[in-house]
Every structure is written in structure tokens, then in C-alpha cells.
């Protein structure tokens, strides 16, 4: 059996950044990726990386970024993660330049920054609308450069950092309460593999493939969420799922594909079928005062942001998605059930093509729409899960399982109830690096290595082979039913009755999934792969529905029609999911109080919208 110091599961932004860090600490690192190297979901990120470098507006600082992040998450964020994120993001971006990244520039040659929803200043470092590609390629090329270094020294590119492409982890192995390695299968051969390692970093991304309409790629099946649960770790705040306001809606086969928020950041506006810029009607109480009330003021803001307020199209994503949903429901949608997103009347054609090349290309080739001449039709699409593995904010370590770390979308806490656009790529880098660093320190500090137990390997192999038993159902049918269930019953607007119904259906699906049957043999078999993914999607979906049913309020990515208000008492509560013999259990856990100097960054009137009078009184008494 292969043995490494640190195994990183996932090769997107967080996984690669973790692997680079652990390798630079001098350890031997394995990266396991479900797809080919360089294809991870990070590649689809479009708008940019949020980092308060202040290159475009010098008023920006980490404090302002922290404030925006907490507001965006409706103060449910773990304050310490939001603080680390805001303070470290600029270093993580600058570091990418030393590895060869080429961001768009300001006129004085620095990294350009663009406006985005919920960010007070232009803050997103970007490369047109393909920033995720730049990020993944830069990290991939950094990995290669470290391998080249190792080749020079040892004659072996993979001496200290090896990428296992198209390998899938199905179990984290343990010795007692600590991590001992990973088990999984090799796609090409269908054979099993296992790696002994004292530290495992989960960096597997999100869960969007459990929903029918999603911007997420094939990989997003909640693998890390499930691996963590199965290993005894807990998941935090899984009820919060972000529906990005602007996905494509037509033609049906591309429904859900992302339309970047940069369209709005760069001047695009949303209109209903009556031609009205409806977002002015949807500025919620907590954000009154920060957003323009007239089209004239909103339009002046692009040229003079210091004396005008921002257009309401740039509200956080949860607000915009709900507004679009309401407009369509009220009968003011387009023919295909979306609203219009128009940049053609706002910018010259050549400017649109320069700033939004992928969007231009995507609409032209997939929908026969020329976005320089006509509006796009858009509607909400499942995009991101704020919930995830509960981790220590500084070390990214699971408090429940020694040696288990999580970073990026699979980790919870950082974004609270709603993530701001641009905060994902920076999250990957900041906490990817921290996870790699602390996993390396943990592995290096051990005096005895955990031993992999044969019984666990046998059980994992039996579990993975179960779908080859005959007589069960087709996994594709189950997947479609799961996606329909989550879309219809645990979607953007939720009700208790529907979530209960979803839980009933999920219970049935879980029983049926235990008996799926795949055709063919083990080599590169997509049906088998899906059968294994189903376990993970069902676990993550059940967490979303259970926690969603329990949280009786509306906040960020969790909107209850039957509990429409935001409840200050609920802000103090995190919902934590664990797995036991009976299935998913959800418990309430106190959200730690925010440090005083960070609270002092806000006006008291604003805090009073989110915190109870008792909390604020306690704070004053300190």
C-alpha cells in the first residue's frame, strides 16, 4: 500500500493550494482527483477573486471586506474565518502572480479590480470572465514547477507531490478516532486503491448535482460532505444553499448554466416583461440606505461611487434570486420563465466582448443570442452550498476527527447564510493554504503513524462492489428522481410540508439506492460511478432537508414561506448534522460571539437588525 504524509482529496483551488503548502513544508503529498488534473469545478468560476488590495479604490481595506462578508452572510458567518479571509486574501492573490498568473491590469499596471454584488468597493481581481480558469491553471502550473524541482533533485517528478487522476475516494480510513488513510477506486481499471496517511484534507467542493437546475459540474456530488459524515465528523448549517440569480433558462438543455455576476458588476440591469428595473422594489430593510432608490442615482454610481449609492442589481445573491423568483411568479417573467438581463443597452459591443468574452461566446453558441444586441433570459440556479464540514477556523481541522481537514466549499462557517460573489476563490486560497499547513504540521508532529485496518478495507471494497449485484434499479433513474425532489421540495423557497415530503422521498430513495444495479464491467463505467456518487448525494441532501425543516426563519440561502422573517434568536444558532445508525441527526449549537473590536466596525443601528438587545447589552458591558 502506498504511504504519504498528507492526502488531499480534490484538485480544485482549495485542494491544490493545500497540496502546494504541504509539499512546501517538506512533506510527501498525494492529490486524489475524480477527473483529469485541471478540470475541477473551480475552472467554472467567472467573476473574480475578492481581495481588499485597494488598487481601484484606495478606500478599501480588510475591515471593509470583513464587514461586507458578514453582511452578505447575515452575520451567521464564523467571524474568525471571515476575519482571516479578509486579512489574508490579498497575499494569496499576489502570490499567484509570482507563480505566473496574469490578471487584468489597471492603467498604472497593478491588478485591476471589479465591482460585484455586496462588495462596497471594486474588489475582484479578475481575468475577463474566466478567472477560475486562470486560478486553476496557475495552481496546476505551480504543482508542475514543484514537480520539476523534485525531478532535478531526485530524478523523479513525483517524489514528493503526486496527482492521482481519475481516482475516486469512497472512504476515509481510521484507526480509533484518528485518520489512517483513504480507500477508493481507479476509474480506468476499476481496481481499488488505498493510501495510508495520517492526515487527509477534504477539498471536494459542493453538492449541486443533487438539484435539477444547477450551475455545478459533474463532480459536485457532495463527496467530501459524505466522507466527513461517514468518518464521524459533523456538518454545519447545511440548510444554506445559494441559488445564483442568473443562470441560463433557454434552451432547456442548458438551463442552469451560469451567467456571471460580472454582467451586473459591469453595468448590466435586470428587467421584467414590463420593462421595469424591478430590483428597486426589492431592497430589504437591512440594506436600506446602502442602495440607490432611483435609476438616475444608480446609473451615476458607476462614474461617481463616492457620492451615489450602488444599484440594487448589486445586492447580495440571495436577495436578487428571490426577487427574480417573485417577479416570475407574479406573471412578469419572460416566455421561458426568466427575466431579462441586459447589458446590450449599457455598454458598447466591443466593450462587452472585451469584458465578458465567455458570456458572449456561451450565448452565441448555445442559445443563438447576441448579448451585444439583445438581453439575456436568466433565472435562479443552484450554485453553492454555504454549509459544510465543521472546522476550526484557524487550522481547518475537524474538531471531531484527528487528522481530518476541510477547505473550500466543502467546509462550513466562512460564508454564514449566504456567500458573496468573489469570496469563493479567495476562500479556496486562504483556507486551502491553512489546511495544507496544519495538516502538514499535524503529520510531521506524530510520533506513531496510524495503521490501516484490513477489516475496514474489506468493508469498503464490499460496499463499492455492491452495485454489481443483479436485480436492482438503474442508478440514472434514481439520480433524476433525487434531482427533481430537491429542486421541487427543498429549492429556493421552502415550506415545512414540502420538506417533510422530501425527507420521505429521500428515505425511499436511500432504500432503493442500496439495491441499484449497474451494467457492464468495472473499467471506466459511468453507471457504476454514479451508483457510488448516489450515496453521497443522498446523505448531503438529507442534511439540507433536515436542517432546513428545523430552522424556522428566513435568512440568506434559506427562505421559508411559512417563516418569512429573519429571527435574531436564530442567528445565535448553528445547526450541526452528524450520522448515526438511524441516519442524520441534527443538533443546535451556539454560534460563538463576535470579538468586540470586529463588532465595533459596524454602527449600532445596523447591529440591532441582526443581534438581540441582550447580546448587544452584553457586548456593551464588556
Amino acid at each position: 500500500m502506498d504511504s504519504y504524509d498528507v492526502v488531499v482529496v480534490g484538485a480544485g483551488g482549495a485542494g491544490l493550494r493545500a497540496a502546494i503548502e504541504a509539499r512546501e513544508q517538506g512533506l510527501r503529498v498525494a492529490v486524489i482527483c475524480k477527473s483529469l488534473f485541471g478540470k475541477a469545478h473551480t475552472v467554472m468560476a467567472e467573476g473574480g477573486i475578492a481581495a481588499a488590495m485597494g488598487n481601484v479604490n484606495s478606500g478599501d481595506s480588510w475591515q471593509v471586506h470583513f464587514r461586507d462578508t458578514m453582511r452578505g452572510g447575515k452575520f451567521l458567518n464564523h467571524w474568525r474565518m471571515a476575519e482571516l479571509h479578509a486579512t489574508e486574501a490579498p497575499e494569496r492573490v499576489w502570490e499567484l502572480e509570482t507563480w505566473g498568473a496574469l490578471f487584468d491590469r489597471t492603467t498604472d499596471g497593478r491588478i485591476s479590480q471589479r465591482n460585484f454584488g455586496g462588495h462596497e468597493y471594486p474588489r475582484l481581481a479578475h481575468v475577463g470572465d474566466r478567472t477560475g480558469l486562470e486560478l486553476i491553471r496557475t495552481l496546476q502550473q505551480k504543482v508542475v514547477s514543484l514537480q520539476q524541482q523534485d525531478f532535478k533533485e531526485s530524478g523523479d517528478y513525483e517524489a514528493r507531490l503526486k496527482v492521482f487522476q481519475e481516482y475516486t475516494v469512497t472512504r476515509v480510513l481510521k484507526e480509533g478516532d484518528r485518520v489512517a488513510g483513504v480507500f477508493g477506486y481507479v476509474r480506468e481499471s476499476g481496481q481499488f486503491f488505498s493510501i495510508a496517511a495520517p492526515a487527509v484534507v477534504l477539498a471536494t467542493g459542493g453538492i449541486g448535482k443533487s438539484f435539477k437546475v444547477t450551475s455545478n459540474s459533474w463532480e459536485y456530488t457532495g463527496d467530501g460532505h459524505a466522507l466527513a459524515l461517514l468518518a464521524g465528523a459533523s456538518l454545519l448549517n447545511m440548510e444554506f444553499v445559494q441559488f445564483h440569480p442568473t443562470g441560463m433558462v433557454w434552451p432547456p438543455s442548458v438551463k442552469g448554466i451560469l451567467v456571471t455576476e460580472s454582467v451586473r458588476g459591469d453595468g448590466g440591469v435586470l428587467r421584467n416583461s414590463e420593462g421595469r428595473r424591478f430590483m428597486f422594489d426589492y431592497v430589504p430593510e437591512v440594506f436600506k440606505g446602502q442602495y440607490a432608490q432611483t435609476e438616475e442615482e444608480a446609473d451615476r454610481w458607476y462614474a461617481d461611487p463616492d457620492h451615489n449609492r450602488r444599484p440594487p442589481e448589486l445586492l447580495p445573491r440571495d436577495e436578487v434570486a428571490r426577487a427574480i423568483n417573485s417577479e416570475v411568479k407574479a406573471g412578469r417573467g419572460t416566455a421561458h420563465g426568466g427575466v431579462q438581463l441586459d447589458v446590450s443597452s449599457r455598454l458598447p459591443a466591443e466593450e462587452i466582448i472585451r469584458r465578458l468574452p465567455s458570456m458572449y461566446h456561451q450565448f452565441k453558441e448555445l442559445a443563438d443570442v447576441d448579448i451585444t444586441r439583445e438581453p439575456m433570459e436568466v433565472g435562479p440556479t443552484c450554485h453553492y452550498v454555504m454549509g459544510g464540514v465543521e472546522v476550526d477556523p484557524d487550522t481547518a481541522a475537524s474538531p471531531a476527527v484527528a487528522g481530518l481537514y476541510a477547505a473550500g466549499e466543502v467546509a462550513g462557517g466562512m460564508h454564514g447564510s449566504n456567500r458573496l460573489g468573489g469570496n469563493s476563490l479567495s476562500d479556496l486560497l486562504v483556507f486551502g493554504r491553512r489546511a495544507g499547513l496544519h495538516a502538514a504540521r499535524y503529520a510531521a508532529g506524530l510520533t506513531t503513524r496510524p495503521v490501516v485496518d484490513q477489516a475496514q478495507l474489506d468493508a469498503a471494497a464490499a460496499e463499492a462492489l455492491a452495485p454489481f449485484a443483479e436485480g436492482g434499479e438503474n442508478p440514472y433513474t434514481l439520480h433524476q428522481e433525487l434531482q427533481q425532489t430537491m429542486n421541487d421540495l427543498v429549492g429556493i423557497i421552502r415550506r415545512a410540508g414540502e420538506m417533510k415530503q422530501a425527507l420521505d422521498r429521500l428515505a425511499v430513495l436511500r432504500r432503493r439506492a442500496a439495491r441499484v444495479t449497474v451494467e457492464g464491467h468495472r473499467q471506466f463505467n459511468p453507471g457504476w460511478h454514479l451508483a457510488l456518487d448516489l450515496r453521497n448525494m443522498l446523505l448531503a441532501s438529507e442534511c439540507v432537508a433536515r436542517a432546513g425543516l428545523l430552522r424556522r426563519e428566513s435568512r440568506g440561502g434559506h427562505t421559508r414561506e411559512d417563516w418569512p422573517g429573519m429571527d435574531r434568536d436564530w442567528r445565535r444558532v448553528n445547526l450541526v448534522c452528524t450520522l448515526d445508525e438511524d441516519g442524520i441527526a441534527v443538533q443546535r449549537q451556539a454560534n460563538p460571539p463576535v470579538r468586540s473590536d470586529l463588532l465595533a466596525l459596524f454602527e449600532r443601528e445596523e447591529l440591532a437588525k441582526y443581534f438581540t438587545p441582550e447580546e448587544l447589552a452584553d457586548e456593551q458591558g464588556r
Binding site: S35, V43, M44, M53, E97, T98, R105, V144, Q148, V518
Partner: protein, 256 residues
């Protein structure tokens, strides 16, 4: 709105196999990958194909449609000739694994042979200053999604297996060009000569600028005009510029 279309899909392993025929329903707006998915869900559950994003951003679903290298997710059914079967085959230049999946490790091996960006020693993180005009060229090449369609179509590889050892292919020659045109790359200071390497290590000479790579690029990168030809010119300048020649003889560092 929907109609049935005939698909002929190469199925097999390790190069052994043959065509299987399917009839499948096609709806408005669909791309070829939608039909492959429908076949998996209904008629061929173990049909092997790579795909990730289904949005033209990751470059996973490369295959040959009616003999032409393309992305399955960006090829709309409406653009293919009506009334004819749609023929799907794996990328021809790479070894077959199963069905539409090929072994593309050649490309990852070539990627490792290109020396990485060399950061300028005198600049700390955050101190990099570059003008947009100066990064435009390399940025165009960094749009590459590594679908390897250019590698597949380039006749220097496609028809000449024996060239693979000495030829990096358009994608990785473009990578050399990208680094050579990076305004702050300090390769020369580190004793690296990217232009000499392009010719001597990566086989730039095998390219005879037939532009096949540019034609199949789903990102519309002008690989030949903007990367390969300028790189050839730079190699030629370096070789024949008498001052550079003199400089290299008397130990002066050539200024790019």
C-alpha cells in the same frame, strides 16, 4: 419538436471494438453531450465518456464528431447535417481506453517538460507592475482550456506516432510562447533560453503552420498566427541576429 436521430458510436476497449448504432430522441437546443447522456440513462448505461462542466469551460468532453475534433458540450445538434447519422469516435491521436475515452497522459508529460514561469528575483509579491497591452498576448494563450483538440488534430502527431517523443504539440508550444511573451518572466536571468528550447527540446520545427490547430480551437485562440509563427520568428531572430550571436559568444546576456 423532438425527433429521432441515428447515432453511430465507437465502442470498445484498448483499440479493439466497433460501431454501435442507436436511435435517440433529440429536442430543441440540445448539444451532442445531451444525447450521450440520454443514451447512458436509457440504452447504454456503461457508455464511457469524459465530461465535467457541460459549459465549454473545462475541456473534458473532447471527441470526434463526424471525424472532426470537437467538444461534445459545445456542438449543437442543429449544426450537424440533417438526415445523416451522427458518428462519434474517440480522439484519434491518443490511445483508446474505453468507448469515447482516451489516454491523454502524453499531454501531461509534455506539460512537465516546459520549464515554469521564473519569478523576477527583485520583485516581491504585490510589486508586479505590467501594462494591459503587454499581457494581452499571453492572456490570449491562457484562455486555453486544455481540451487537447489541437494536439489531436495536429498532423505532426496524428499521422506520425514516432514524432511524439520530440514534439510537444501546439498546446505546449503555445505555452512556451506564453512564457516567452510574459513581461516579467526571468527565464533568461536563470540561464534558460526558451526560444532555443522551443526549437531544440519541444520540436517547433515540426510545425509547418497549416493552422489545423487554430481551426479546431473551441476558445478561438489564434494559435498559429499569434503563438507559433511569432515563436518561430523569435527563434529565427535569435539564431541569425549577428549581435545576439556575438553576445552569446562573448558572454553578454541577450536582452529579449
Amino acid at each position: 419538436m423532438s425527433k429521432d436521430v441515428e447515432f453511430r458510436i465507437w465502442r470498445g476497449e484498448g483499440g479493439q471494438g466497433g460501431f454501435a448504432n442507436y436511435r435517440v430522441e433529440v429536442n430543441e437546443g440540445e448539444v451532442v453531450l445531451d444525447l450521450v447522456h440520454r443514451l447512458q440513462a436509457t440504452q447504454a448505461p456503461d457508455l464511457a465518456v469524459r465530461w465535467n462542466c457541460k459549459a465549454g469551460k473545462c475541456g473534458s468532453c473532447s471527441a470526434e464528431i463526424n471525424g472532426r475534433p470537437r467538444l461534445l458540450c459545445m456542438t449543437r445538434m442543429s449544426t450537424l447535417p440533417a438526415g445523416q447519422p451522427v458518428v462519434l469516435t474517440p480522439l484519434r491521436a491518443f490511445p483508446s481506453i474505453r468507448d469515447l475515452v482516451t489516454d491523454v497522459s502524453f499531454n501531461y508529460a509534455k506539460a512537465r517538460e516546459v520549464p515554469s514561469f521564473v519569478p523576477p528575483a527583485e520583485l516581491k509579491p504585490g510589486e508586479y507592475r505590467m501594462r494591459q497591452e503587454d499581457v494581452n498576448r499571453s492572456q490570449e494563450f491562457r484562455k486555453c482550456i486544455e481540451c487537447f483538440l489541437c494536439q489531436d488534430t495536429c498532423h505532426a502527431v496524428r499521422d506520425h506516432e514516432e514524432n511524439k517523443a520530440a514534439f510537444a504539440g501546439p498546446r505546449f508550444l503555445m505555452r512556451v510562447a506564453e512564457l516567452d511573451m510574459h513581461p516579467l518572466d526571468a527565464a533568461a536571468e536563470a540561464g534558460l533560453d526558451r526560444r532555443a528550447d522551443a526549437q531544440d527540446v519541444h520540436g517547433l520545427g515540426y510545425c509547418n503552420i497549416t493552422k489545423c490547430c487554430t481551426e479546431v480551437c473551441p476558445e478561438h485562440i489564434r494559435i498559429t498566427d499569434n503563438a507559433l509563427i511569432p515563436l518561430k520568428e523569435r527563434v529565427a531572430d535569435r539564431k541569425y541576429d549577428p549581435l545576439v550571436w556575438l553576445g552569446s559568444k562573448i558572454g553578454l546576456r541577450p536582452k529579449s
